[in-house]
Structure formats: structure tokens, C-alpha cells
């Protein structure tokens, strides 16, 4: 019995340690989430200004003449998957991988090229069916805009060269602090309707366009994609940390439940030993008397 008590005490101590760690991780995830939300907030003015410019120019040009707005003959689908570098974030990665797998199964016989952000994705897709076309070495959490820009430039180049006929983005949307969901978005060819070309605003927008409307629009399009991907990466990161916070909170709660149930067991076992010892003493005294 005494051994059982010792064992229980050891387990309680172990679970307490785990609870301490998961609580610390919960707090770290929650501060990081806050910082990421600030970062996402900081990127909004640029995105908005760019969208406005694109929208007004889109009303001025013939969209058919821009290769990024047109499909090409390649049947291959490019998938840009945004994963994270660390685990312990609930179903974040398994949800993402499920979405990718479903996409692959929906398109049997179509060559699929995977472009992967994040160490978890690198590990998961290595040796699995479609294979990784290109894995970006960046640590997702610290990714600067210019690095996303270079990645998108490479993808645009592949699209223009006809290596891929379309490009989709698979990343996690941050719907709220409690709800995050993987989503598939079309990046290339760019849907002209998504540019919100506004002929009315375009009419009143009559600046000097140097060197020409077409050249500026052509430069704006990749920038627009870069911004979309950058925004999606920030959103995916916010989702990752939100899910990590929830997972760590659940772990802390579970550990606390376990501590109280183990403590109860421990107390009962201790009480039992005391009672038994008392009975033995009383019994021994009785026997001496008798």
C-alpha cells in the first residue's frame, strides 16, 4: 500500500509539472496571437490602397490582354499550402492536410504541384503522393513580406511559362478567435471580377499614367497576388496560434482535472493506510489485554 501512495504522489507531481508547462505555452500563444493581429492590422493600409488602385485601373483596361487574367494550356494545378513549423496546435495541421488530400482526390489524373510553406508541411508531404515541387525554407512565424514576394514571383513565372495552368492557395482562415477553417482559394489565373474593376470610379480617376496604363496594371497584378498571399500567411499564423492557445488551455484543464482526481485517490489511499494501522494497533492492544 505504501508503495501505491508513493506512486500516486509521483504521478501528481508529474501532472502538475505538465500543467505548468501547458499553461505557460497557452500564455505564449496568446501573446503571439495578439502580436500577429497587430501585424495583420499593420498590413491593412497597404492592401487597401493597392486594392483601390487595382480596382480603378481595372475599369480602364481590356482584361483579356493580360496573361495573368487568362488561363493557359497547361493542365497542371499548382497548390500553395501554408502550414506551420510547430505542433501542439490541435487539429490545425491535420485539417489542412485533409483539405489538400481531398483536393488531390477530386482531381485524379491531373498533375498537381505542391508548393509548401512551413516545416510541418515539409515533413508530411515528403514521400506522399503528389510530392513536393518546392518547399520554402522560411520560418513561417518570422516571414517578411519580401520573402513572400519572391515566392509569388517564382510562382507567377511558372504560370507564365506554362508549367502550371492554375494556382490555388490552401490556408487556414481566421474566422474568429474560436473558429478557424482551412480554405481553398483561386490565385491564378486572376478572376477579373475579383479585381472589383469599377468603371464609374475609373472615369473620375484620370491621372497621368506613366509609362502607360497597361504597364502599370501589369506591374500591379503580381503585387496584388503577393499581398493576397502575405495576408493569407498572416491569417494562417493567427489561426495557428489561436488553435494552439485553445489546445493548450484544454490540456491545462485536463491536467487540472487529473490532479484533483489523483489527489482524491491519494487521500483515500492515505486514509486507508492510517485506518488499517489504527485497527492493527487497537487489535494488538485488545490481544494483549485478553
Amino acid at each position: 500500500m505504501a508503495k501505491g501512495i508513493k506512486e500516486l504522489r509521483r504521478r501528481i507531481r508529474g501532472v502538475k509539472n505538465i500543467a505548468q508547462i501547458t499553461r505557460a505555452m497557452e500564455m505564449v500563444a496568446s501573446t503571439k496571437l495578439k502580436r500577429l493581429q497587430e501585424r495583420a492590422e499593420g498590413s491593412k493600409p497597404y492592401g487597401e490602397a493597392l486594392r483601390m488602385l487595382v480596382g480603378r485601373l481595372a475599369g480602364k483596361v481590356e482584361s483579356e490582354q493580360f496573361p495573368l487574367l487568362r488561363g493557359n494550356t497547361s493542365g497542371a494545378i499548382g497548390l500553395l499550402v501554408v502550414t506551420g513549423d510547430k505542433g501542439l496546435c490541435g487539429a490545425y495541421h491535420s485539417n489542412l492536410f485533409k483539405t489538400v488530400t481531398a483536393l488531390v482526390q477530386q482531381n485524379p489524373g491531373t498533375p498537381i504541384k505542391l508548393f509548401v510553406y512551413g516545416g510541418k508541411g515539409r515533413i508530411y508531404f515528403r514521400g506522399r503522393k503528389p510530392g513536393i515541387e518546392l518547399a520554402y525554407p522560411d520560418v513561417v512565424e518570422k516571414i517578411p513580406f519580401v520573402s513572400v514576394r519572391d515566392a509569388v514571383r517564382g510562382l507567377v513565372k511558372r504560370f507564365l511559362a506554362g508549367e502550371i495552368g492554375s494556382l490555388k492557395l490552401v490556408s487556414t482562415r481566421f474566422l474568429s478567435a474560436a473558429q478557424q477553417k482551412p480554405e481553398v482559394r483561386d490565385l491564378l489565373p486572376i478572376d477579373p471580377a475579383s479585381l472589383l474593376g469599377d468603371p464609374v470610379a475609373a472615369k473620375h480617376f484620370d491621372p497621368i499614367l506613366e509609362p502607360s496604363t497597361e504597364v502599370i496594371f501589369e506591374r500591379l497584378l503580381p503585387k496584388y497576388l503577393e499581398m493576397q498571399v502575405y495576408g493569407a500567411v498572416l491569417e494562417a499564423l493567427a489561426s495557428e496560434f489561436a488553435m494552439r492557445r485553445i489546445a493548450m488551455k484544454a490540456a491545462t484543464d485536463a491536467a487540472n482535472d487529473m490532479i484533483s482526481s489523483l489527489t482524491r485517490q491519494y487521500n483515500r489511499a492515505r486514509q486507508e493506510t492510517i485506518t488499517k494501522e489504527l485497527l492493527e494497533i487497537v487489535g494488538g492492544a485488545e490481544a494483549l489485554k485478553g
Partner: protein
């Protein structure tokens, strides 16, 4: 523009310098020089509306007190409207943030890569050229301190 010539020194306009990471500047200035694709564009209050690509280079501005400030900017766009100049760039740095030795190293590296033109198929010349311009802009901004 014509009406601006007489009183330009006293007149100001709003300048916004925005990168995808944050809004770096949103202030009233007297004049600005933007490295646009076709050369430096000097802007005073009342400039005609204009949209043009920005190339990596040095953005100079003169604030309300006549003080000159310089920023090393990356690629982007400038949009001039009636009362505002908006510069959207991939990156923008104040001289305080620039590491001189790093910029020099980037400059040397880009130059070396460009020197291999034709001999090495793996070198992305457009990229090397862009990084050369970026490094030059940084060095210029630092030198102006």
C-alpha cells in the same frame, strides 16, 4: 500646376509612405522626390495627378520646417492625387535602420553575380540587378547622414 509656382515654398501636402508591414510615414511635407521608373519625380503641392511605378532608390522629403529626410525604398508605386501623395513600396528604411556593412556586402554580392552574366545560367540577373539597386539606395541613404 501653374498656380503653384508662385507660392510653392509655403504650401504643403500630405505624404504617405506605406509598406506591406506598416504605415511608415503619414505627414505634412513641403516637397518630395520619388524614384519613379522614368527618373526622379519631384513633387510640390498642387502636382498633377499621377500614377507611376517606383524603382528601388532614395525617397527624399522636406518637412514643414525645411528639414530634409531620406528613406531607402524598394519597388512599388506612387499615386499622386489632388491633396495627397501616396507611396506604396515593398520596403522602406530610415537611415537609422540600415546596417552599412550588410548593405555593402549585398552590393558586392550583387555586383559579383552580375559580373558572371552569360557564363552562369543559374544566376537570376533580374533579381541580382534589383538587389544591386536596393543596396545602392541603402548605401546612398546612409552616406547622407
Amino acid at each position: 500646376m501653374a498656380d503653384a509656382t508662385t507660392t510653392t515654398t509655403g504650401r504643403t501636402f500630405r505624404l504617405e509612405l506605406i509598406s506591406p508591414e506598416r504605415v511608415l510615414l503619414d505627414r505634412t511635407v513641403r516637397s518630395a522626390q520619388v524614384p519613379a521608373e522614368d527618373g526622379l519625380v519631384g513633387v510640390l503641392a498642387g502636382h498633377a495627378p499621377l500614377v507611376s511605378p517606383v524603382v528601388p532608390g532614395v525617397l527624399t522629403l522636406v518637412d514643414e520646417n525645411g528639414q530634409r529626410h531620406r528613406y531607402a525604398v524598394g519597388q512599388g508605386f506612387v499615386e499622386i492625387t489632388k491633396d495627397r501623395v501616396r507611396v506604396l513600396v515593398d520596403s522602406a528604411e530610415h537611415p537609422d535602420q540600415i546596417d552599412r556593412t550588410r548593405a555593402q556586402k549585398a552590393f558586392d554580392r550583387a555586383r559579383e553575380r552580375l559580373g558572371k552574366r552569360g557564363s552562369d545560367k543559374d544566376v537570376d540577373f533580374a533579381r541580382a540587378e534589383a538587389s544591386l539597386y536596393r543596396a545602392m539606395a541603402r548605401l546612398k541613404v546612409v552616406a547622407s547622414l
